[in-house]
Symmetry: C2
Subunit: 208 residues, 2 copies
Amino acid sequence: MKLKLNSITANQNGKELYSENEIILRKTLDKFNVLNDTEFSDFLNVCKYKEFAKKQYLLKSGNYNHGIYFLISGAVGLFELIDGKEMYQNFFLESEFANELKSLTTQTPSTKNLIALSDTTLFYLNRKELLELYEKSVSFERLGRKLLEHLLNGQNEISYVLQSLKPEERYAYLENKRPNLLNTIPLTYLASYLGLARETLSRIRAKR
Amino acid sequence: MKLKLNSITANQNGKELYSENEIILRKTLDKFNVLNDTEFSDFLNVCKYKEFAKKQYLLKSGNYNHGIYFLISGAVGLFELIDGKEMYQNFFLESEFANELKSLTTQTPSTKNLIALSDTTLFYLNRKELLELYEKSVSFERLGRKLLEHLLNGQNEISYVLQSLKPEERYAYLENKRPNLLNTIPLTYLASYLGLARETLSRIRAKR
DNA sequence: GAAAATCTGTGACCAAAATCACAATCCAAT
DNA sequence: ATTGGATTGTGATTTTGGTCACAGATTTTC
């Protein structure tokens, strides 16, 4: 297991120092166009850098979910055990927020698992500190609101795929919308994500 | 077409007057535990009472979505035309927010339609005024954030149903989680919602 | 209240995808 | 390098649910 170390980089005026990882986070958050410099600093202050080895669990079903994760590198899968099968419900790659919201927001034991699918580095945000950010400034509420809008749009699209598309079209959807998954995630997991038998997806791919 | 008129009701101290409809809205929003009295009044001020007859469109694909709707009575369906078929992606009944977020948040033409499935009364919230509320007080941002958390949890559940459940289990899911849909929404539409052929759902129901 | 449109039920048939079984590959760990 | 585990490929078979067709039933509309 080999993980990158943080390297430190100065910004233009040299007053503050951000690591590479922090710059990745900044760029991602800037897309939402909400946080100013000081607010971003406040955000950073509650981010804890963590590393997970492949196959390590970030969240195990039955436990409470205590936060969210911003991926710097690696891959995380969200899955649920159904009839003994691991049904993957989402995958998270770098610059994405790995999340399981049901347990986080309702504070009930999670039915789902978060697992590192490769060696992964990330920032961890504790639920309590997240709620404190929400209290601290309207900007964090706005960021949360916009992030959730984005996530919900994405989830609506997944539902559409599962409801309306045939197996080959589902694979084409992945090729177009999330091509990076094809390299990084085992076909077996992708099949469950698309609601297909492993063999079916294997045959679809063979035809290309 | 027959629609209820607003009747006026006094609250305890008699200082303010709320209509029945406004009380329904208040009760629903109170679940999120965010708005105080004055904030609720601000919210009400941007709500426009509207009526839609059965089969009237609230939003037509190709157009921009300009707001969200809080249902007082009736039923609204969200569907998309796919291969000439109306694929219903959601249903909204009384005390629910009928929404199509993709077009609303990204300001692109909608691929989806919102249609009244029976005579419907509702409050309409204009996008511009909604954004102004977000500017006005952190409470509205918080309300939006919590509502979106709630909606996303629901959408995750739908995805799970489509990904992992067999036809009979999908019907059982409706019976448990949204029993009111079974009475009010035609089986044909429910079938598309569940990703099933109309005939399949008809046979499942016949077995009960 | 008659006609038209919409919605539902049901049988016969078909096809697509799931399941089963096993071999081949790839990968990780010692 | 070798073992063991995980992952993938592929053929044979089965089954589920989709499609087609048409008849009733129910609702809407003029």
